[in-house]
Symmetry: C2
Amino acid sequence: MKAKVYVTIKENVLDPQGTAVQGALHTMGFAEVGSVRIGKYLELELDTNDKAEAEARVKAMCEKLLANVVVEDYRVELEG
Amino acid sequence: MKAKVYVTIKENVLDPQGTAVQGALHTMGFAEVGSVRIGKYLELELDTNDKAEAEARVKAMCEKLLANVVVEDYRVELEG
């Protein structure tokens, strides 16, 4: 089973990396770009067939390691 | 219009960050985790209503700045 995890910075938290990329895009002539937010995208291969258990386990991984839940949100999608 | 951009490391390119996370997850007791691949997830607000033009522009941003096309793939989704 494959898990896709999206880790994003919470809406009310500043994203200096996104701001830097926005500035670079403006400098390059992409003036239509408004806010830019940058997060992480993870793909995990899981050796299990129990979807409910897999989801609970991946959420535990996010809480403990993959996301900083103070300033980040996460979303999990399971496939196969 | 909102663009979501997924930047992932190409299949045949090593991902040392993913390998490190896999090792950490194993140490924490998540033995079911196989390969871990880590990429970037970007959300861009675009001040335009022309979807076809927006897609071409975002792809140009990826080629020029957001992705290193030598070792990374990217995928663009447009919303709204």
